[in-house]
Structures are given as C-alpha cells and as structure tokens.
C-alpha cells in the first residue's frame, strides 16, 4: 500500500513539473469556462434578448395606423423609431444600421374600414439575421388587423340584414367595431393559458450548466491524458523498470490510477470554485450529492482511461481517439447544452456516455434543486460504468509486452 502511495505521489510530482500540463489542466479549462460564461450570459442579465430598433414610417396617420403603432410598441424587445421618412428608413436598412423597417402606407386606415385590400410594408436586408424575427412580428400584426377588418365587414353586413335598411351610419358602426376589435387584440376572449412547471421565482442559472459541463469535459481530458502517460512510460522504459523493482503489479497500476483519480477530482473542484467565485454559481442544496457525483464521475473516467490504455497500445493513436471520445460524449452527454433541452433521440443516444449520467446528476442538483435522493441512480450507474471499464481494462491490460 505504501508503494502504491509512492507511485501516486510521483505521478503528481511529475504533473507538477510538467509546465504544459498546468496550462492544459488549469489555464485552458478556466479560460474556456470564462469565455463560455461570457457568451451564454452566466454573469447575469445576459440571458435577456437584445432590443431591436425598428423604424416605423406612418404615412397614413389614421386610426388604424395608430392602432398598428400601439400593437408594435407593446411587442417585447422592439424599440419603435417613428421619426424617419421612408427614404431614410430604407437607407438605414441598406447600410446595415437597422435590421428592418415598417412602412404604413397612406390610405391604410380607410382601406381597413371599407374592407379593401391593403398591406403593411416590411423592408429587410436580405442577409439580416433578425429579418425572420421581424417578419414574424409583422405577420402577427397583419394577421390581427386582417381579423379586425373581417369583424367590421361581418358586423356591417349583419346590421344591414337585420334592419333591412340601407340608411345606416356606416362610419359610426365601423368605428365602434374597430374599437371593440382592437380592445380584443389586447384582451382576447379566447387565449392560451401556459402553465410553467417548477418554481416560478428560480431562473435558469447558465453557469450551473456551463461550469459542470466544462469541468467534466476537461477532467476527462486530464485523466485520459494521464492514462496515456502509461503508454509513454512503456515506450520510455520506466514502466519496465518499475515492473522489475520489488513492487506488486496492483500497486503499480493502483498508484497511477489513484493519481489520475485525484487529478480529476481536483480539477472539477477547482472549476466549481471558479464558477462560484466568478459567476456566483448556485451549487444547489446538496453538497454531499455533488461530492458523490463528482467522485463517481472521476472513478468512471479513470476506469475508462485504463480500458483505453489496455485497448490502444500506441501513444500516437491514443490522443486522437480520446479526443474523439471526449468531444463526442461531451456533445451527446449534455456537457455543452442541458440534456433536457436536446431532442429525445439525442438524449437516448447520450445515455451510453458517462458524461450524460454525470451531467444529469449535476443538472438535477444544481439547476432543478434536487438532493442526494434524486441522483442515486446517476451515482450508481457511474460506479457500475467504472467497474465494468476497470474489470475489462484490467483483463486486457498488458503489463509486459511479451
């Protein structure tokens, strides 16, 4: 046992002496997490959508045009600019200074009142990324006003049919019908009721996804890279020297695996500390759950490492293969995006990766506010995953080359 610890300590000493390892294991993961946090708004407020400035040129100045302006102004994330004429608005879009502009043509209100066809004009740049968004908004408005026009038309016909009189106050009826229809636009008689499940006051903490995701991914890089170090030792001859020294084989391998395991745990702990200090990341309510899911993740990763070293016997092969496995399992396993936001098929496929079980555990603890009881299955699966990899890896591992 003492020699196992000596070997583990030597591995850690070698790691400390390797300057590039410090970059790979500390600087790069923290840097990437910081950038990820910036991009996805982990610093708070970043999840709010950007406000779009939208020039609206009112050439009509009528009641319906005013209603259109009112509806648009109540649309979230739109800032209406009504001071421009059509030429200026078109120029702003052409120059890329605005994503789009709306023109309410002259005669819009009278056409609406008399049931004549009319149109709102939307000017967009052909490659504007927000053009589809604006198009959707304007279509929504035109659809609503089309309904208003239909309502007015139907109302007048019905009054004519009921009274049989042609001597009616068309303008008055149309005006009241429009007013009622516009009220309904804001307060519809039939509406969709959307029920949000879960705690209303808790917002999605982006850092609670990014930090554990990147931590698991980079811990896998570190652990699998350290496992590749066994192949390097075999090529250099130090592994043979260890084998011919008075050290049991299980001590030799155990010491190396212990060091890899500790490296993984240390790296995840460091990333969590970084997340908490820099992003104010919420780590949930179950420190024990976090600890156990982290230990189980590192055990599974370490065991996967020994399996890979047993199967892949050349250092040239191990780096591309481990990179492929890590990036693939990180993408499928929810290290980059929450699993529950992914298509069902991807979620099912991702289940074959240890990352999926780890990330589901972290998501439950840190995003959904779960406790230890909610992640027992994840911990159990990770331990089993590690045990299978370890057993198969040990079976296939060749201490001696011949």
């Amino acid at each position: 046992m003492k020699k196992l610890l000596y070997i583990a300590l030597n591995e850690l000493l070698l790691l400390r002496k390797d300057r590039m390892a410090a970059v790979w294991m500390i600087v790069l993961p923290l840097g990437m997490t910081f950038i990820g946090g910036l991009v996805f708004g982990a610093f708070g407020g970043g999840s709010e959508a950007a406000v779009i400035d939208l020039p609206v040129v009112d050439q009509d100045r009528g009641q319906m045009a005013a209603a259109v302006l009112e509806v648009l102004s109540q649309t979230e994330n739109l800032n209406l600019e009504t001071a421009y004429d059509e030429e200026t608005a078109r120029g702003l879009v052409t120059d890329g200074k605005r994503a789009g502009a709306v023109v309410i043509p002259s005669g819009f209100s009278s056409a609406m009142a008399s049931g004549q066809p009319t149109a709102l004009q939307l000017i967009v740049a052909p490659s504007g990324q927000t053009a589809p968004l604006l198009e959707g908004m304007v279509r929504g408005v035109t659809s609503a006003f089309s309904n208003v026009q239909t309502t007015v038309e139907v109302a007048i016909r019905e009054v004519q049919r009921a009274t049989g009189s042609a001597d009616l106050d068309y303008e008055g009826i149309a005006g009241r019908a429009v007013a009622t229809a516009l009220e309904r636009l804001h307060d519809p008689a039939v509406s969709a009721r959307i029920t949000t499940v879960g705690s209303e006051e808790e917002e999605f903490d982006v850092s609670a996804q990014i930090v554990p995701g990147y931590a698991v991914m980079f811990a896998m890089f570190s652990v699998l890279s350290a496992a590749g170090g066994i192949l390097e030792e075999k090529e250099r001859g130090t592994f043979k020297r260890l084998l011919i020294s008075p050290v049991r084989q299980w001590s030799l391998l155990g010491g190396k695996l212990l060091a890899q395991f500790l490296v993984g745990v240390g790296q995840i702990a460091l990333m969590f500390l970084f997340g908490a200090l820099v992003f104010g990341m919420d780590v949930g309510h179950s420190p024990l759950g976090l600890l156990l899911i982290t230990l189980a993740t590192c055990w599974a990763t370490t065991s996967l490492g020994i399996l890979l070293v047993a199967v892949i016997r050349s250092r040239k092969q191990i780096h591309p293969i481990t990179t492929l496995i890590i990036l693939g399992s990180s993408a499928l396993g929810g290290a980059w995006f929450p699993l529950f936001l992914m298509p069902r098929v991807v979620q099912q496929v991702g289940r074959v990766t240890l990352v999926a079980w780890a990330m589901e555990g972290y998501n439950r603890l840190m995003i959904l506010g779960g406790n230890l009881a909610d992640v027992w299955v994840n911990i159990g699966v990770l331990i089993l995953y590690g045990a299978i990899c370890f057993a198969v890896g040990l079976k296939l591992f060749r201490f001696k080359e011949a």
Binding site: K3, I7, L13, L14, K240, R241, P246, K400, A402
Partner: protein, 310 residues
C-alpha cells in the same frame, strides 16, 4: 557455489526462438560478458534473470532463488541497468533516485545518504538538482547505472550500458563497473563491443542466434580460436588462384565474397608476405588490404562467419 545458474534456458516470442538452450553459471564476484550482435538473445537472458520475462523452458536461479517460483526474492538481490534510459526526464537526479529508492525499500534514514553516495560514484553530485532532460547522453547513462545500484544488489546486470555514450562517460562507466566489481559485486555485462568485453570481463560468452557458441576467458578464446584475419579486395579471381592461396602454409582458410578474399591465418604477418608474393607472381591486382589482429571480433567472425556489428 554459483550466484547465478542458467540451465537449458529457452525463450520463445511469437514463435520466434530468442534464446535457444542456453546454460551458464556466474560465480560470486565475477564479471561475465555476453558478447553478440543485436538480436543474439542477450537482452532476453537479462529479462528472464530479472523476472521481467518468463522462461519458456529451463531452470534459472539467482542467489538460490528461482526466477519463476520466487520472483520477489530475486528482485531483492538483482539490479538492472537497462539499455533504455529508464528515467523521468522532468525530474532531477535526486528525485529520480529518491522515487526508485523508496520502491526498493531503502530505509528512510539511509536513503538520502545512499543517494549522495551513488551520485558521487557516478560523478553527478554537481548536477544533482538539474532536470534529467537537460543531461547529456553520457550523464543519463551514468544516472541509469546509479538507479540500478539503489537496491544495493548482489548481482548487477548491465544491458549495453555504453550505447551512444561519449568516450569520457564511457571510461567513467568502465571505472564504476571495475570499482563495484572490486567491492565484490557480481556482474553480467552485455555488449556488442568486443573491446569492452575484453577489458571488463573475466569470462565472455559469445552468442549468436539465441545460442552460446563459446564461453571462456577472453585470452583463452583468442588463443585457441583467434586467428589473424586478412581481407584483400580483388576485381576478379579464378578457382586456380583460390586453390593456390588456400595452399599457402600460413593460411588456414580463404573465402571469396563480394570481391573480397577473407584469409584466416596462423600468423597474419607471415601470411601477408606469402599472399602479396603470390599476387605479384600472378600479376593479380589488389584493390584493398586490411589486417585484423587476433581478438574477440576475429573469434566471432571465425565462429559465425558474421561481423559483430551486422
């Protein structure tokens, strides 16, 4: 009583017989050399003796412990200096020695002092705190030797310890080995440099294709098997000329290969006069001439028909 006994050792890797029925003993305090070209089976014998490889057949013991039945006991009495520089380049000399020393159960109180002694022995005291990656090839070889001595072995095996080493470091290694041997250390030394075998070894086993083809003191091997060799380059030579050369009194044998005549002689100096005389008499041109004095190289050539560095 022999410290090392190897009886009818066979070792096969993937149907290739690396060691083919080898037997020898090493007496306490002796330096035995294994001399042979690459692939002769020298390193395989070391691998078996240090328990790294299992014999396919045969009995091998060190200090009375079987390498197959008591590998742990064998590991405690042997030291190995492998052909590879088996060191951690990111660590310095002391850190390398400290790590391996712990694995060899050197007592904590003794370890630092022992490291200092070994560094002094191999002349690296002044470079003790430098990373090994910055060492020259010779310095790495010397540290490689020091690591092999950490467990204070009774039997030290050195596998081609001077490959790629500058002359100064090579001499230092020779001096180290001779000093250790004077202190009573039993040594097995493999090399394909016949000068090293002649200089260091009390006895030499000449190996080829997994077999020991001669085993004796270097002096006796040279005296009984060594012949002066003369190599003469020719453009062409006919059968009649070959027969006349073979018939010269100082020539034991002559072979013709690749425009070179190789003469094994009783006395190279006298044979040379006869050979040159016959070439003059028959007006046959020589394109080159080389005289090899009797040594282990010529013994090896005579025994195998090959050169050591083939």
């Amino acid at each position: 009583m022999a410290l090392v006994k190897v009886e009818n050792l066979y070792k096969t890797y993937d149907r290739v017989r690396a060691v083919d029925g080898v037997s020898f003993e090493i007496q306490p305090g002796e330096i035995l050399g294994l001399l042979g070209p690459n692939g002769a089976g020298k390193s395989t014998i070391i691998n078996v003796l240090c328990t790294y490889a299992q014999p396919t057949a045969g009995e091998v013991s060190v200090a009375g412990h079987s390498v197959t039945a008591e590998p742990d006991a064998v590991k405690r009495v042997v030291g190995v200096v492998p052909q590879d520089i088996a060191l951690y380049p990111d660590l310095n000399a002391v850190e390398n020695l400290r790590f391996f020393g712990r694995l060899y159960d050197v007592p904590k109180a003794r370890l630092e002092g022992h490291i200092g002694e070994l560094l002094a022995l191999v002349g690296l005291t002044e470079h003790a705190s430098r990373r090994v990656e910055h060492y020259s090839g010779g310095m790495k070889r010397r540290l490689n030797l020091a690591v092999g001595l950490l467990g204070e072995p009774r039997f030290l095996m050195l596998d081609e310890p001077t490959v790629g080493v500058d002359p100064q470091s090579r001499n230092a290694i020779f001096e180290n080995i001779q000093a250790l041997n004077r202190q009573g250390l039993t040594i097995l030394y493999t090399t394909h440099y016949m000068e090293e075998a002649e200089l260091l070894c009390g006895r030499v086993a000449i190996m080829d294709e997994g077999r020991i083809i001669a085993l004796d003191t270097p002096q006796h091997l040279i005296r009984t098997l060594g012949t002066g060799l003369i190599h003469v380059g020719v453009r062409d030579v006919d059968e009649e000329m070959l027969a006349r050369l073979q018939a010269l009194p100082q020539v034991k044998a002559v072979t013709h290969h690749n425009n070179t005549l190789a003469f094994e002689t009783v006395d190279a100096q006298r044979a040379l006069l006869d050979i040159v005389g016959l070439f003059n008499e028959t007006d046959t041109a020589m394109t080159s001439l080389e005289i090899l004095e009797p040594n282990l190289e010529s013994v090896f050539i005579q025994l195998t028909g090959k050169q050591l560095r083939d």
